[in-house]
Assembly symmetry: C3
Homo-oligomer: 137 residues x 3
């Protein structure tokens, strides 16, 4: 029942995954219900971001790194400072997201898209989608 | 199946939408399940906030603006600085929220209410509610 | 249908509640679906955090307190400064969380655990779990 798709990140950017989520909802056959998106990762997060201006995506990622700077004095020292900062960003922004499904599609505003926010790339990543509700036409 | 209600914001405040959500849950007929609340906007967010002291709501909104200051050097320059900052606040706090529904009502603590957090008002806004679960008495 | 479990916090730490959530999912009998975790509190939050290094948990809690410092000039003055800061942390990080349930278990990555993040302890606390989906083997 869970759909899973893969992506490869080439750095710390916000990557549009709206189409992949739409495909998972279509494949589920659910017309009215909800979808839960979930990442199995601890240095990435999910965000709904305004897409018309690509520079706005850069602002969001920049601000996250301004708020949680990559520095060398984290207590977690098993990995890189980017990894340590990524754990914090991932927890604060979140790795799961619920969407309303209606008319066999995710209910998003006209400026909204769903993004995979990479905080410790480049990496191979996965996204899980679970859709629940009434199967419809 | 999706319920939608409107609100008009008169500035950047936290607006109590608990009663509107309760009405949507009642109308759905669902006794035990979950509700997903979703905003189609990119400069607003949803928060569960302690309501007994109205000054606490001001603290939350003030702190959000202290963390993401409205400044003129965002890369996104198509709109106002308030709009650019609002996109970031909206993504970080989130535009969707899942609530547990039990006894035909949202399960909230005695000090919790659900708020629409406006970051780029005044505006006309919408809130969507999808309720899933067992229809009951 | 809602499962509730108790915990006592001995300070402001991240407390692993993964096993309690797993038990609630098992008890629900749901094989494929979703789980919504919800706190009835306004000075605590839920986070999915990397668990292998306990110092990473300390980093997350430290960073939250660096971002929202406990200070005496909040407008909310009915309680302690720790309580006023806790309300803000609780709203920004969030008190509800959706998990995918598959194979009668929460779908988590190999480094992920679910944590109760206490921002105003020590306290007696509750966690609610609602599971929805197809009952299975």
């Amino acid at each position: 029942m869970v759909a899973t798709f893969q992506l490869s990140t080439d750095g710390n950017r916000a990557i549009d995954i709206t189409d992949e989520i739409a495909a998972a909802i279509t494949d589920s056959g659910v017309a009215e219900g909800i979808a839960v998106i979930s990442l199995p990762h601890t240095t990435a997060s999910l965000g709904i971001i305004s897409f018309p201006d690509p520079l706005g995506l850069v602002d969001v990622m920049d601000e996250v790194s301004r708020l949680v700077p990559t520095r060398i004095d984290f207590k977690h020292q098993h990995d890189t400072p980017q990894d340590a900062a990524g754990h914090i960003k991932s927890t604060l922004i979140g790795t799961t997201l619920s969407l309303i499904v209606t008319g066999s599609a995710a209910l998003l505003g006209h400026s909204q898209k769903v993004y995979f926010m990479e905080h410790d790339g480049p990496r191979k990543r996965q996204v899980h989608v679970q859709v629940l509700g009434q199967v419809g036409a």
